[in-house]
């Protein structure tokens, strides 16, 4: 079976409270899945396990039928915090996934610069991370995740530190990129509108369980009109409903 299968995952940290409780899910190839849920419900834990970064206590992850035992190779990651290397410039940080293994080629350097331009931080190409604002740092992290043109993307609230407008611009850019490269994406966000705008499927998590899944039947490519369509509002309402009612942890 192709795609990413999350097979009956349960997890607790250090034998503490269970943070994931028997989660089953499937992410098909080339699909864009958004994970929403209240703060502390287990989204990050789910993403870490689904991507192979963390081992679940119970259950396992299959990628194209193969068990995932270490972080998926052909994947780009954005963690909840930017996690840049402070002693490298922005450009070096973006190129780092490549440079870790070998010298980068001129094309790759150009690609890195293009990504920085896409992320609108080309002015800071040679700055160091600590000279950047919070939102600028998170954009560098996104560029880094994309540098190797990965097949899979695991993004944990990548746009959380960005203003509404930049965020919307980047949503479009990301969608374009994903469509172009047929990427399979698992995307955590706390912005329902964002989830609906970018996703093919939205899953709602609550206290370590998936309580709702919603297929987003909005036409593609998404445009400004999408945001003002009534279906968009409807979906927003449905997802809010799914999210509400349960007290946040």
């Amino acid at each position: 079976m192709s795609g990413l299968t999350i097979d009956h995952i349960s997890h607790s940290y250090d034998g503490g409270k269970t943070v994931l409780q028997g989660v089953n899910y499937h992410v098909g190839d080339g699909e864009f899945h958004c994970l929403v849920g209240r703060s502390g419900c287990g989204k990050t834990s789910f993403l870490k396990i689904a991507s192979g970064l963390m081992k679940a206590e119970v259950g396992h992850i299959l990628l194209d039928g193969q068990q995932v035992l270490k972080p998926i190779a052909d994947a780009g990651f954005v963690f909840q915090s930017p996690t840049l290397l402070e002693w490298k410039t922005v450009l070096e940080n973006v190129l780092f996934p490549i440079e870790l293994k070998r010298k980068s080629t001129l094309e790759e350097q150009d690609r890195a610069k293009a990504l920085l331009e896409l992320m609108k931080i080309e002015q800071h190409t040679y700055s160091f991370p600590l000279q950047l604002s919070g939102g600028q740092q998170s954009r560098v992290a996104i560029a880094r995740a994309l540098i190797k043109n990965p097949q899979y993307l695991f993004l944990d609230e990548p746009f959380a530190a960005l203003d509404a407008i930049t965020r919307e611009e980047l949503q479009d850019d990301l969608l374009a990129l994903c469509a172009h490269h047929q990427m399979t994406v698992l995307f955590i966000t706390h912005d329902i509108a964002e989830a609906i705008y970018v996703a093919d499927h939205v899953l709602v998590m609550e206290e370590g369980k998936i309580v709702h899944t919603e297929t987003i039947d909005l036409p593609k490519p998404r445009t400004l009109d999408t945001r003002y369509s009534s279906r968009f509002n409807e979906l927003g309402f449905v997802l809010r409903q799914a999210l509400e009612g349960v007290p946040v942890k």
Partner: protein, 252 residues
Amino acid sequence: MKWAPVFSSFVFIGLVTVWELAARSMSELVLPAPSIVFPLLWTELKTGYFTPHLIQTGIEVIAGLFIGSLLGFLLGVFMGEFPWLRSLLSPYVIASQAVPKLALAPLFVLWFGFGMTSKIVITAMICFFPLLENTMTAMQRIDRDKENLFRVLHATRWETFIHLKIPEGLPSIMSGLRVAVVLALVGAVVGEFIGANKGLGAMIIASQGMMDTPLMFAVLILLTVYGMLLYGLVILIEKIVFAKYLYWGERK
């Protein structure tokens, strides 16, 4: 603070004055006056009397420091990375440190001969420990977020080491090195106490035999200057080569 060097000089002059006064009321055998030591130092430096000894000790320090800090660093890396290696080796490491080198002198001479080798070995043995400890600590103290990044990038242990643990650990490693350079000096000198006829340590012994305390103090001053040079060199390397790794939360 422009007055800092001025103040420093005052302190220095003050200390030398106190020394001078103390020495006046005392036998030269015990505490020679700076007014005797410094001119002696100066003339002997000019006559080149100290030169071969300075060179000898210099070579031993450099060689011992190189071997010792390399060893300390490598052992620190491995013992930091592999807990079983740590528990396996640490008794021997502690033994190598807790045992006074002077007591082992005959064995060193036996194994490494009377030549420079035994001095270099002692120097290396004395200076490798602070580097080992600091490197070991640095290896273990890694931000878990960054570690995740490296795991996700399928970094090998070696790559993680080179690109994460070393850069992150540099401040700590460098402070180990600063201790090591100064200890290396003591190591070389102590090594020369045992069986040498050249080097600053041999000079100290010889000056003691001749009861030439002024000469001994001149040598001690040379040692201090040597120590300051080496220490300054490490700080320089830190400032020039490793500056970018010494960020603290935010660049000002």
